[in-house]
């Protein structure tokens, strides 16, 4: 393929990482005081902001509420200046609706919704800068926001993308690698049990490579869960120092 090589002969990717290396993850919880829970997460150049409201009474029609568990309502939107080409509509297009449904599915698997019947939990995620791995950054940010809101969950939900180039699995794809035409797999994992909340793959892949790809994604997710855990503990330390006598 003329142009950029996704994986050089020495084993380096476009941004200088090795194949299983993740991008730098930085995160902060409680960014907004008015929301019940909020978090900001940077995964390389992708920046995501997640805000959680709830659990509260079901807004709008009463018929939407479920008698035995909470309804999780997600909205995914991108800032108009987040992509290289200006995006006209922040949300409402097909891709955003699809992402919102994926997020809903992911978090319904993790949040203990049986504890809050007839109520609603709102998760709003905003992408401030898109550089590949939008879905993963959203899931990771939303996990932190849910922890900040004090909503009980079964486990952290960590998500990561993985790709396959020349028999090597790459973890945590950036935008150039995602749009490079190779395979890309998005995985959301509950690390302690190893259960998968969401699995999505586009493009062709030989079935022999599937397990290697999933392994790479799961290892990446487990690494991410350690980072997220560190962020939560650090936040708790800061908060407890402020509130202790």
């Amino acid at each position: 393929m003329a142009g950029l090589e996704l994986l050089s002969d020495q084993g380096y990717r476009l941004d200088g990482r090795k194949a299983p290396e993740l991008r730098k993850v930085q995160a902060r919880m409680s960014v907004f005081a008015q929301a019940d829970g909020s978090a900001y997460l940077e995964q390389g150049n992708t920046k995501a902001l997640a805000v959680v409201y709830g659990p509260h009474e079901t807004r709008g029609s009463r018929s939407k509420s479920l008698h035995d568990r909470a309804v999780i309502n997600c909205q995914y939107s991108m800032a108009t200046f987040s992509t290289a080409e200006r995006k006209r509509r922040p949300h409402g297009d097909r891709k955003s609706s699809e992402m919102s449904l994926h997020l809903k599915q992911t978090f319904e698997a993790a949040v203990l919704t049986e504890l809050y019947p007839r109520s609603q939990i709102d998760i709003y995620v905003k992408i401030l800068q898109a550089d590949g791995g939008n879905y993963s950054a959203c899931v990771n940010a939303a996990t932190l926001a849910l922890v900040d809101a004090g909503i009980p969950m079964r486990d952290y939900v960590c998500a990561c993308t993985a790709g396959f180039v020349e028999d090597t699995a790459l973890a945590d794809l950036c935008h150039a690698e995602e749009s490079g035409g190779g395979t890309s797999l998005a995985l959301a994992l509950l690390p302690r049990s190893g259960n998968i909340a969401l699995l999505q793959m586009d493009a062709r892949l030989h079935q022999d490579h599937l397990s290697a790809l999933m392994e790479a994604a799961m290892t990446a997710c487990k690494g991410l869960s350690k980072v997220l855990d560190g962020v939560v503990r650090q936040h708790l330390e800061e908060v407890s120092v402020l509130t202790s006598e």
Partner: protein
């Protein structure tokens, strides 16, 4: 704006306080809340700024694209505004809930900023009648605690100051058609002169007195507010009355004078801060939301 419920007792307490010159958080009637501004927070844009004024958080991104100039003014570029009231601020803005407020905000922004007195639109022209720079200013509302206009206008001024428009070269090819070449060098860019960009000051009338930088609670207790855009010289460029009550001419005059006074004092510290940030250059530690 996101609704806040206020009880009668709270209202009376607030109004008595304002009458005596003290507000709920101890400020005087013409004091602003703690403001934090940072530029260059989003790297996909040509200019960006983030402001937090108390609990109001706004992020502005400016993208420059080449477009066709308006037929009535062929030698000027223009600005396009889009305000996104995101669901982050309040669940009522989910889906299309925030559209109404967004449209109202962007219409006022057009009036205040998109004219040749505020921004030198001629410098945005590339080829008269054919090509010009169009600056897409996108405002993202992240948290809403009153006084949106002030925060947005200061953020826009900071973002425009931070905007770097690449320099273009027009070359003629064989058939006589014009080719536009953007300079490849990321440092070879044009900056905008933001000296004359105004800042908006919103004054809310509570009882017989007016307050600057009202929170949502104070806004719920006020009858009407006056929006004034003031340049650094103290010149008033736009006045608008908002709210469901009515104002008598005396108080409008008084509020305009106060707005001019307050607005004039906003510009100097803002420009100083922006220059200081700029002078740090690469050494500046970008904080963004992580700080």
């Amino acid at each position: 704006m996101a609704a806040v419920q206020v009880s009668e007792a709270e209202k009376v307490y607030l109004m008595h306080g304002v009458r005596d010159g003290i507000r709920l958080d101890g400020r005087r009637c013409e004091d602003y809340r703690h403001m934090e501004i940072e530029t260059d927070v989003v790297s996909n844009t040509d200019g960006s700024a983030k402001i937090s004024l108390g609990h109001t958080d706004v992020l502005v991104g400016v993208k420059a694209e080449i477009g066709k100039p308006k037929p009535t003014v062929p030698n000027e570029g223009y600005l396009e505004f889009f305000v996104d009231c995101s669901a982050n601020a309040t669940p009522e803005f989910e889906g299309r809930g925030g559209e109404e407020l967004g449209v109202e905000l962007s219409n006022i922004l057009y009036k205040v900023f998109n004219n040749r007195h505020s921004v030198d639109l001629r410098s945005l022209c590339i080829c008269p009648g054919e090509n010009c720079w169009v600056l897409y200013v996108d405002v993202l509302l992240l948290q809403c605690d009153g006084n949106l206009f002030d925060a947005i206008s200061i953020a826009i001024k900071a973002a425009l100051f931070n905007t770097r428009i690449p320099k273009v070269r027009i070359s003629e090819d064989e058939e006589g058609g014009k080719e536009i070449e953007l300079s490849d060098d990321p440092y070879d860019c044009m900056r905008l002169n933001v000296e004359n960009v105004p800042c908006i000051v919103t004054l809310c009338k509570i009882g017989h007195r007016h307050v600057v930088d009202a929170t949502l609670l104070e806004k719920a207790c006020s009858v009407a507010s006056l929006l004034i855009s003031v340049t650094h010289k103290g010149m008033v460029t736009c006045v608008r009355k908002m709210g469901r009550g009515s104002l008598d001419p005396e108080s409008i005059f008084e509020m305009t004078e106060a707005g001019k006074r307050v607005g004039k004092t906003l510009h100097a510290p803002l420009m100083e801060l922006l220059q200081k940030e700029e002078s740090l250059g690469k050494k500046r530690q970008k904080v963004g939301f992580l700080g």
